[in-house]
Structure formats: C-alpha cells, structure tokens
Amino acid sequence: MELSSNPIPGPPGGAGATVITVNAARIDASVAIQFKDAMRGLTAGGAGDVILDLSQVSFVDSSGLGAIVGAMKALEADRHMHLAGLTADVDKVFRLTRMDTVFAIHAHASDASAQLAG
C-alpha cells in the first residue's frame, strides 16, 4: 500500500501535524490490512494530528472504512485524524455509515494543514 508522509511544522512549542497521502485508487478488502499496517508504521510514536489525504482514492469499501477507523483508533488519545479530499464515492460510504461524524473532514489537505500549521 503506497502512502507518503509529509510533516507540517506546528506553532512554536506545538506538535504540528502530518499529511499522509494515499497513492492508490482503492482502499478495499484486498488491501485493508496493508493499509492499516502502513498507517501504523507512519504514525506510531509520533505527535500531532494526522491529515489523511484521500484525493486519489476513488473507492472505499466497508473493509477500507474499517481500516481507516482502526488507524484513527490506533493514534494516541491526544492526536486527531482529519480526512481530506473525499471523492464522491468515498464520501457516500462515510455518510451512509455516519462515520463522517467521527472525523474532521476538509475539502483539501491544504485547508487542514493551514489550520494546523504554526
């Protein structure tokens, strides 16, 4: 599962944030475990919020949705996960399952990073 990670410096003394971009068209049952493992690898032991950029993802099924929720639950309690760039089909899955209510959702990763940057 191809993910790339890009740190956003925070305010002085603050933790900043990390933008993680999913470089894949689908997060589905065939890659859900790899996705969760890759997310853990990029976030474990870190600090600050995580902005998951899904703008290249055109399809998420319930396994992929579960893996995104699982990645969020694996974060330390003081770190939040933001979602950015939801495409139409991905947005539909989040809305129908009401999981859109448990994440901060931004139109673009740049909106979220501007909010969190120092």
């Binding site: 396994s63 929720v69 309690a77 139409a88 009401r98």
Partner: protein, 155 residues
C-alpha cells in the same frame, strides 16, 4: 455451454477471492458506464455489489476451499437486477441479517471497525432478496432506473 447473451445483460463467473472481487467490480462498472447511467447510480451499484461480493469471500466461503461466484446484471423494466450466486455456507437461518447498523458513538476506543456491509447494501439497493437453492446462495439486488439516473442523450 456458451452464454445465450442478452444484448442488454452482463454476466461473469470468477473464483471467490479479493482480487477477483476487484475484477468483477471493474467489469460491472465498465458495463454500467456503457449503459448511459449517471456516476452516482454506477457508484451506488458498485458499493452495494462490493459489499455483497466481500460477504461471499469472507463469510460464505469462510474456512472452505476457495470456490467461485457468478454475477449476472439484467435490466428488467425500470429496475436493474444484479444476481450473485455462490456455493458457500448459507446465511444463518437462511435469512439476511437485519441487525442495526453500528453506531458512531462518542468514545473513540469503541468506534466500530466493521459491521457496515449489510447496512450499506440495505441503504443502497432498492430491492433485496435472498434464497438458498440447494447448495447455492442466490442474492438479488435491485436498483431503480429513473430519468434522474440516466445520462441525457447528446444533442
């Protein structure tokens, strides 16, 4: 035996595994796109069919040697029917589950990471029937085709 192919229908049969599900979804979506249906309609069908096929792979064939599934898409009147068959375990009590969808809740640790599949299928399909026929599961999803789900004709 060759497929007596209905010019407006679509059929495929594959081994039941996650990569075959991807193939089936891509082929189904390609066929749907050729039917001049909106993206919103195509994605509704794709999400529901994805959950139904994942269910075949993960539950019907749980701890069984991998076997196949078939998918037939057929418009009839104003409804597009998608029929999915497999030879795996029957649904419990030969009925579709009707457990309520998982709740988002406030507490992060108790957020659901699964159990969304049937809720998505029920939310997206307009009709849903299941029956056990001998050693086979037969699930039929119906999606209503309306002027809103059709792309306008050119010119």
């Amino acid at each position: 035996m060759t497929d007596q192919s209905d010019p407006i229908g679509f059929a495929l049969a594959l081994r039941a595994n996650p990569l075959a599900v991807r193939t089936a979804l891509a082929d189904t979506r390609g066929w749907l796109a050729s039917r001049r249906l909106t993206e919103a309609f195509c994605s509704t069908v794709e999400i529901a069919v994805a959950e139904a096929l994942n269910n075949v792979v993960e539950h019907a064939y749980y701890r069984r040697r991998e076997a196949g599934f078939s998918l037939v898409a057929r418009p009839f009147g104003d409804i597009l029917y998608i029929e999915i068959r497999d030879k795996g375990h029957a649904m419990p009590d030969h009925r579709l589950p009707d457990t309520p969808p998982p709740e988002p809740g406030e507490d992060r640790a108790s957020l659901p990471e699964g159990g969304f599949g049937w809720h998505l299928i029920r939310s997206l399909a307009d009709t849903l029937t299941y029956r056990r026929e001998g050693e086979e599961n037969c699930l039929i999803l119906g999606f209503t085709i309306s002027p809103e789900t059709r792309l306008p004709r050119d010119g």
